[in-house]
Amino acid sequence: QQFPRSETLYISGAAWGPPSDWNPFITWSKANTSGTVGLIYEPLFFYDPLRDELIPWFAESGTWKGENLFEVKLREGLTWQDGVPLTAEDVAFTFELGKKYPAIWFSPMWDYLESVVAVGDRYVEFSFKGTPLYQEFENNLYNIAIVPKHIWEGRTEEEIASGANENPIGSGAYRYHSHSSDRNVYVRNEDWWGIRLLGLKPAPKYIVDIRFASNNVALGSLLKGELDLSNNFLPGIAALVEQGYVKTYLPEPPYMLSANTAVLFLNTTKKPMDDPAFRKALAHAINVDDIIKYAFAGLVERANPTGLLPTLSKYVDREVVEELGFTYDPEKAKMILAEAGYADIDGDGFVEAPDGSKISLEVTCPYGWTDWMEAIRVIAQSARAVGIDLENKTPDYGAWNTALVSGTFDMTLNNWASLSNTPWTLYNLLFNHPIRDTMGSGNFGRYDNPEAFDLVDELAATPVWDTEGMQAICSRIQRIMLTDLPMIPLWYNGLWYQYNDAVWTNFPSAAEDTPHWLPCTWAGYWQMGGLHALFELKPAG
């Protein structure tokens, strides 16, 4: 045995595929090596969604010195894993890569960013032109990983934008150890600056991040105690929790925290989805409780009609929800349909459009996404129950994706807005604009409402400290959304998390005597509590 069991933490659920790169700038594939950002490379700040606050990390502090100037003060004594000091130069260098190379994901920031200047070793000044998109900027603060200038400055655009960056040298608590097609192995960085400066030391010497071919295999391993922490979606886990084989964050349903919102996008360019009444009827028709019960075995929660996650509940305008929110009510759905002129003329049990044309629709999700496949089955059943001829179809991912971005679907599920510090992330997805031929980043139903678009833009430019301003804008967005219902938020996908405390204990959970961190190892979540959970672990026995 190469990795002593008592010093090794086995985790899974993050990697979608075999490790292929350790480049912190390739965001879509870093999921395969989820620890690239968080364990190896680190951003300036971390973010704790449970408390909704930024955690200074490299940065000792970050201060808005006016509307157009943001100053970051770095900690004293930061080092890279190769021993070279980490300075403001490295930070400036990293941000400037986005200016130099449009292929780097955060390069659009430079639309409003004027310069990033290192002032001495410990200060970095971000100056902006015009009004910065505060919301995005702050989000990026904990998502852009800082890379060592001394290593990266000699690299070509290709290497930086799309290189594998093997044998990565970062600044983080763990170093790259090894990998194979089904795992990443990290080894603790004994010289990590955090040990010195923050007094934090992750407990496991090794982390083996396993990529299981299918969730059920992960379940087997977890039950056997080969796996300590799993962020996989494990069907049937509820029963096992009840029987005490494994543990989850919450001791009773829904067992899981929420990670993102599953939204049913309706293609508003097609009939009859262009009719708000029809959309509303549909929203009342869908039996979300059944979805939760059957597709997820009770592991998820019904979504707030605004779609905002519980962590952002302060942005929900309860009055609006009270007034306009929808619930499962098939009778009401039928009523709305009838009122809007939808009636079953030909007697086939399904309604026809007011103009008499037949309605025959499809609801899709990618093939193989088993829980969603069950979910759309329920959606279709629900719709048929109120007389809407809806069939569930599961094309392959590629076909689904093409239909999604090119707007040829009728209805489809999507959950691409991830857990975030700002409601803007969700609204940017739901009301992405302008409407283009290819809608790759949201608003797949091509809902075209300049008023809503303006509000989202306004929200983006609202300073992060202006909570009330944000709330006001959100409220107006929510009113539009719930009146028009261009898309229907249905449930929150769970932050799947289950653990076996045979080898390690003190995992995060809702219990009083355990730490409360977001217990997640997915890419992008290490800096949202995942790493902090490691600090708290204790060897069992």
């Binding site: 075999p18 965001t27 083996v208």
Partner: protein, 329 residues
């Protein structure tokens, strides 16, 4: 002989050419835009997506006319360059495949060769032996009729989960890294055994039955009758029958290769065994058409080579073909 080989080679080359072309064509006309798919995972602002799309189209060589892509593809193939995987970006496809190949071969070759040998021996032994023939051969039929994955699932469930004797996923334990140590090898074999066994058993049934039927034919052949009339012991007659029946079984092997490959694909999937079959599923699920192409190309080359080997073996073993090919002189 030479002429025969040239003909065969021509067929192989043509097949290769066609297969590679199909290989190139099919994924390209699959619905979905791989770059788009890849970027949609990144969850970025629309502006960033536009820019990056252009960048990656170029990186994947998709920005040139289709015919150029085709020519480039051939040039690249001969340089051993199969492009870059989308799903495992930025890893070159050839490297991804090379990492998976040893596992596939480690399953496929022993399972095929051993089941062929054992199945043939057993089938020949059972032929015309009433008791064996009546009891064990139905089992052979059932085995051969068993879907590969189902046998895999059963074995995994029985020996992996219920009894807990064997692991049911991966090629080696999560607490190990590959090395030549005894510990690792044992661990590897331990993981290898169940997928191997399920491949072996299904094929074993097929070969045993095939052989049994062939041997019965041979035992009824005129030469067997003649030998028997000369009082030759059954042993020798059976030996001859076995050898002659083996020849069609060799051709059978060539015919079966495709099926066997398919079987190994599902077996790898059931046991999450990190071989080509498993990879191909991942590639398909992730719309990684460079990787699909690569895996397929590898399978084509593998099957072609195996066929060639079988063909050559056949020539060596069967004087009839050799003679027919060389003419009478």
């Amino acid at each position: 002989m030479k002429r025969y080989l040239t003909r065969k080679l021509a067929i192989y080359i043509l097949t290769f050419f066609l297969a590679v072309t199909i290989d190139w064509v099919i994924p390209r006309f699959m619905p979905g835009d791989p770059v788009q798919t890849m970027l949609s995972r990144a969850n970025l602002r629309a502006e960033a997506v536009e820019v990056m799309r252009g960048y990656y189209l170029k990186a994947f060589g998709l920005d040139v006319p289709v015919w150029r892509q085709y020519l480039n593809f051939w040039v690249a193939v001969f340089h051993g360059d199969l492009g870059v995987s989308v799903y495992l970006f930025p890893k070159p496809v050839s490297r991804v495949i090379m990492e998976a190949v040893p596992y596939s071969l480690a399953l496929l070759i022993p399972a095929t060769v051993l089941s062929w040998i054992a199945g043939n021996k057993f089938g020949a032994f059972a032929a015309r032996r009433k008791w064996l023939d009546n009891t064990l051969l139905p089992v052979g039929y059932l085995l051969n009729a068993t879907p590969y994955m189902w046998l895999g699932i059963l074995l995994a469930w029985a020996f992996g989960i219920a009894l807990g004797w064997f692991p049911i996923a991966g090629a080696y334990g999560f607490d190990r890294t590959p090395s030549l140590s005894l510990g690792f090898i044992l661990d590897f074999l331990w993981h290898w055994f169940l997928p191997f066994a399920s491949l072996f058993l299904v094929q074993f049934g097929g070969w045993a039955i095939g052989m049994r039927n062939m041997v019965i034919y041979e035992l009824e052949a005129d030469y067997s009758q003649y030998l028997e009339a000369l009082g030759t012991p059954r042993g020798l007659i059976r030996r001859y029958a076995f050898r002659n029946a083996l020849l069609p079984q060799i051709t059978g092997l060539a015919l079966q290769l495709g099926v066997i490959v398919a079987g190994s694909v599902v077996t790898e999937i059931v046991f999450s065994y990190p071989g080509i079959g498993y990879l191909i599923l991942q590639a398909i699920q992730n719309q990684d058409y460079f990787l699909i192409q690569g895996c397929f190309l590898f399978i084509i080359i593998g099957v072609l080579l195996a066929n060639l080997v079988v063909d050559i073996v056949y020539i060596v073993v069967d004087p009839r073909t050799r003679r027919g090919m060389m003419g009478e002189s």
